[in-house]
């Protein structure tokens, strides 16, 4: 499929650009680390068990770090008007969306992969046994978040005060996926079998399917002149 190949070209370009400067990943990492440290001060984990508060801590950190990736993803296109370059090349807007969405997804997942073991160390909560289940949860939730986020990132990159509008829009629209993410993470962290969170997986998967498709179809109207 030519569309997927073009999407991968854009995806690899973003990763190479990121690899060259690492400015997005480093920013996200230090920001997340800071948030984790602050959480450490705000909650007394000797009294409260991390198993209950863990999901909240993780997902607040991931979503705010995700915002950094999503807004930066379209700043690099604005320098040198590169978005116009993409629009002038024989590429469907959908392919541009998929390419950018995959690169955002990769960045956010990358930070999550670094953050989860670090959280387990900082809050001395053993997580090694639960990694595969957690990976599934992270995958489904981050896909929905990055899917909608890429569309909104592209939109707010072209409005005034985009840095305020992006989080406002993204968190309002992503309430279902955030609830589903926290609930599934809680089930995983409490060691209960994944089956308990079946309904939340359904919501997460439904959110992903609906919004990645909707974003794919409406992306052209967001980047059009």
């Amino acid at each position: 499929m030519d569309l997927l190949r073009k999407a991968c070209v854009i995806w690899l370009k973003d990763l190479r650009l990121e690899w060259r400067t690492l400015d997005s990943i480093s920013g996200m990492f230090f920001f997340s680390l800071l948030v984790l440290v602050i959480f450490n001060f705000t909650f007394d984990f000797t009294v409260v068990d991390f198993k209950d508060l863990g999901p909240g801590v993780l997902w607040v950190t991931f979503t705010f770090a995700g915002i950094l990736a999503l807004s930066h993803s379209f700043v690099i296109e604005k320098e040198g008007d590169c978005m116009q370059g993409l629009l002038l090349s024989p590429v469907d807007p959908g392919a541009i969306y998929l390419g950018k969405m995959l690169s955002n997804l990769t960045l956010i997942l990358g930070v999550e992969i670094i953050l989860v073991p670090l959280t387990s160390v900082l809050f001395n909560y053993p997580i090694w046994g639960k990694l595969p289940a957690l990976a599934a949860v992270l995958g489904v939730s981050t896909l929905g978040f990055a899917g909608v986020g890429t569309l909104l990132g592209a939109m707010t990159a072209r409005t005034r005060r985009g840095e305020v509008l992006l989080p406002l829009l993204l968190f309002s629209i992503c309430i279902p996926i955030i609830i589903a993410a926290v609930q599934t993470t809680k089930v995983v962290m409490q060691g209960r079998p994944l089956g308990d969170a079946r309904e939340w997986f359904i919501i997460g998967a439904a959110f992903d399917a609906i919004f990645v498709t909707a974003a794919y179809l409406t992306f052209e109207y967001v980047i059009e002149e």
Partner: protein, 232 residues
């Protein structure tokens, strides 16, 4: 057609006024007093219908946004904007009367129960919808962005409602005048009547708000022509 157009601005408010009075009368006198909560439960009649009509208003925004992207004529954009704004007003009604009702009955101002929380979530979505409109300068771009948000928002409503309902458990048991589950028949008829009242109110507000949207576009055009005339 012209006769109706001239009569409308007089007749519609009168109909609305009559409906509102009938609705208020129903809520305060016709409906029996709820056994557990007493008279304060009567807030329900003008609280819950606002939520329903708000959902409907956001649905209209979603449809109008889709039509704008398909047909590209600004009238759909004006309708989408008007419906989102009126929907937001109804959401505000729900979000203020809800706590006013919860306080005497459950002792707390805010309860994270499903319908109220969903309304809050929608309020956030459509408040940011209006902010995006205000922060985009180019009119075509504003219309396109708003249309995309209108569709995404409308798609989000059912999922938000489903996820919050599962997260929080169902709406509290609200009305039991004379035993038995569900709505007391007398209360039900007043409740349905109040929905009609709010629907008429929605129609009136839209009938006022849409021409303003059109006028704003017209004036923007005239200002540009004037500026160009002065620059030349």
């Amino acid at each position: 057609m012209n006769g109706i157009k001239r009569a409308l601005p007089v007749v519609l408010p009168m109909i609305l006024f009559a409906l509102v009075v009938k609705g208020l009368y129903g809520a305060f006198f016709e409906a029996p007093t709820e056994i557990q909560m007493g008279d304060v439960q009567r807030i329900f009649y003008f609280h819950a219908p606002a939520g329903i009509v708000a959902f409907l208003a956001f649905g209209v925004t979603g449809v109008a946004s889709f039509l704008y992207l398909w047909r590209k004529s600004l009238i759909f954009d004006v309708v989408a904007y008007a419906s989102a704004e009126v929907g937001l007003i109804f959401c505000t009604i729900v979000l203020v009367t809800g706590p006013l009702w919860a306080r005497p009955v459950w002792g707390t101002w805010w309860t994270w129960e499903a319908r109220l929380t969903t309304t809050l979530a929608l309020w956030l979505i459509y408040a940011s919808y209006i902010l995006v409109r205000r922060y985009t300068d180019n009119r075509d771009q504003q219309a396109r962005f708003a249309a995309v948000l209108g569709i995404v928002g409308a798609l989000d409503v059912p999922i938000v409602y489903r996820s919050i309902t599962w997260w929080r458990g169902l709406h509290p048991v609200v009305l039991k005048a004379s035993g038995g589950g569900g709505l007391d028949p007398e209360m039900r008829s007043v409740f349905l009547f109040c929905i009609i009242v709010y629907l008429t109110l929605y129609a009136c507000l839209m009938a006022v708000r849409i021409p303003i949207g059109c006028a704003e576009d017209e004036i923007a055009g005239l200002r540009e022509i004037l500026a160009r005339r002065r620059r030349a």
